[in-house]
């Protein structure tokens, strides 16, 4: 409609300048060397990528991918049954449950992660209990366990919600038809509900995997100072070493890996991938 064209132009420019351009600058910068405050000193180079593909950085990358994968599997194993149970509840309790699962997510990400430092710490409640029953303290954080737990805690609702939404969307007529044709509950689940909820599984996987692979806060707080994931490496390049161009190159490599993951999941979900909970 002509009447609203002005608004569309405005928003088109907004998105181009404030969303797309910053990403382009990041990509361009990863191919340059020189002082980024002095544009005339910039020259094109592939050196940043050579530096970014340093074997020790590739090791960090592999470790990050591995932890993100484990986090995803745990979220799926807990999240699917939970989503399935919630779908079967009566609507009133169902909405309250969804709200209870989402409510902690609406507070502050940093506080959520910080709170686990208290719970897992050597003086925390878990270790106090272990101590009092004579088992001694167990190192619960500053290791892989702490980091994975922090990631599962922060990202689990992103797995539950899409699965829940895809399960509630299943047409009950299909379930009834299957029953009428003699399917057992097991058949109904494996042949009707599970296949139809797979788009939710793939959406959930996207929403968990992407933030898990790039986190640097969870690994910093629950992994301790020397603990390095790829997110910590990028953060360090930008905020500590001021080596922005190499940092940009690492970020571009991570983004490419994420795009590949996203492409595969999108294919698996047959175009029904939803990239937002909202």
């Amino acid at each position: 409609m002509k009447k609203f064209d002005g608004i569309v132009y405005f928003y088109g420019i907004w998105v181009a300048v404030l969303v797309v351009l910053p990403l382009l600058i990041l990509v361009l910068l990863s191919f340059t060397s020189g002082d980024i405050y002095d544009l005339s000193s910039l020259t094109l180079t592939l050196d940043n990528y050579k530096a970014a593909l340093d074997p020790s950085y590739i090791g960090v990358m592999m470790h990050s991918l591995w932890l993100a994968f484990i986090t995803n599997v745990i979220c799926l194993v807990i999240g699917y049954p939970v989503a399935y149970i919630i779908t079967g509840l009566n609507p009133r309790i169902r909405n309250t449950m969804v709200l209870l699962i989402l409510a902690p997510m609406w507070s502050n990400f940093l506080l959520r992660t910080y709170s686990w430092m208290l719970v897992l710490g050597n003086n925390g409640p878990i270790n106090s209990v272990l101590e009092s029953i004579g088992l001694g303290t167990v190192q619960l954080m500053y290791n892989n366990f702490g980091v994975i737990l922090g990631m599962v805690y922060n990202f689990l609702p992103f797995m539950i919600l899409p699965i829940y939404l895809s399960l509630t969307r299943i047409d009950n007529a299909l379930v009834e038809a299957a029953r009428d044709l003699g399917a057992t509950s097991k058949d109904v689940f494996f042949k009707v509900k599970l296949p139809l909820s797979m788009p939710g599984v793939f959406s959930g996987t996207t929403l968990v995997f992407l933030p898990a692979i790039t986190t640097f806060v969870i690994s910093r707080l629950l992994g301790g100072g020397q603990y390095v994931l790829i997110g910590n490496l990028i953060e360090h390049k930008f905020m500590v070493q001021n080596d922005w161009q190499v940092g940009a190159a690492i970020a571009v490599i991570v983004a490419i890996i994420l795009l590949v993951v996203l492409g595969v999941l999108r294919k698996l979900a047959r175009g029904r991938l939803e990239l937002s909970l909202w």
Partner: protein, 264 residues
């Protein structure tokens, strides 16, 4: 699945989700400075919190940015949704794809790219760069929430208004907005909570001059835990949860559809 098993699973999940919040709240009332020791009930950390200038300033940045970003992003996002909804399919598709970038992109990538962008344009890092960054990602979320609500609009009313000579602002204000009110409210609430929740994008776009709560907690947590942070965290959890349940109540009493209620 058998019933007890269901109960255990759901109960376990809720315990997992709320355990750290409960622990935090308990410690915030502990008189002792040391975590492991309970020395009785005390409100002294709340006192320490309210007299802490660093925290007061951080709170000002967090709430100031969240409120301003919510208002501006909701205005831009709602207008953009209306415009895009009635625009050509091709334009709508391309702009919506770009609109998803800040949502799908990990915070870290959005954060460093905006930091580079501000450096590139020689912006002075501080309140205004952090605010602009928040508006950028908030707008994306507002559009995602408001756009589906546009489908519910009775187009005959829009046409009638046009036939009667109303300009676009009258159509938006008198015909469209009243019909998508719930969506606008949900979008604004989501934008607000996203702003309050954010750490990563703020961290990269605030520079040294502006420290919001997330940034303050990050640097404090690295130096070791201070008990008044527990008091702060407790207040924030309680505040946000009350806000959500309050808004949900309003929605409930209005008997809105289930999707609207999901968001708040």
């Amino acid at each position: 699945m058998v019933k007890p098993l269901k109960r255990i699973l759901i109960g376990g999940l809720l315990l997992f989700l709320y355990l750290p919040i409960i622990v935090l709240a308990l410690y915030s009332f502990n008189a002792s400075e040391y975590l492991g020791r309970w020395e009785g009930f005390s409100l002294k950390w709340y006192g320490a919190l309210f007299s802490n200038a660093e925290i007061a300033e951080a709170l000002y940045y967090t709430l100031g940015v969240a409120l301003l970003a919510t208002i501006i992003a909701t205005a831009i996002g709602v207008l953009a949704s209306i415009g895009l909804f009635y625009s050509k399919a091709k334009i709508k598709k391309h702009v919506m794809t770009a609109n998803y970038l800040p949502i799908v992109n990990p915070d870290l990538i959005t954060g460093i790219s905006l930091m580079m962008f501000f450096v590139f344009f020689r912006a002075r890092f501080g309140f205004s760069t952090m605010l602009l960054a928040h508006i950028i990602f908030d707008v994306a979320y507002v559009i995602v929430v408001v756009m589906p609500k546009m489908m519910q609009i009775d187009f005959a009313q829009v046409e009638a208004a046009m036939d009667l000579g109303a300009n676009q602002w009258v159509i938006i204000g008198r015909v469209i907005l009243p019909q998508i009110k719930q969506g606008v409210l949900a979008g604004a609430l989501l934008a607000f909570t996203m702003s309050i929740d954010d750490f990563v994008i703020s961290f990269f776009t605030a520079g040294n001059r502006a420290t919001n709560l997330s940034i303050a907690i990050y640097s404090m947590a690295r130096r070791g835990i201070k008990p008044y942070v527990n008091a702060l965290a407790t207040l924030m959890f309680v505040g946000i949860i009350l806000l959500i349940f309050f808004i949900n109540r309003i929605n409930d009493s209005k008997k809105d559809n289930e999707n609207g209620r999901l968001i708040g």
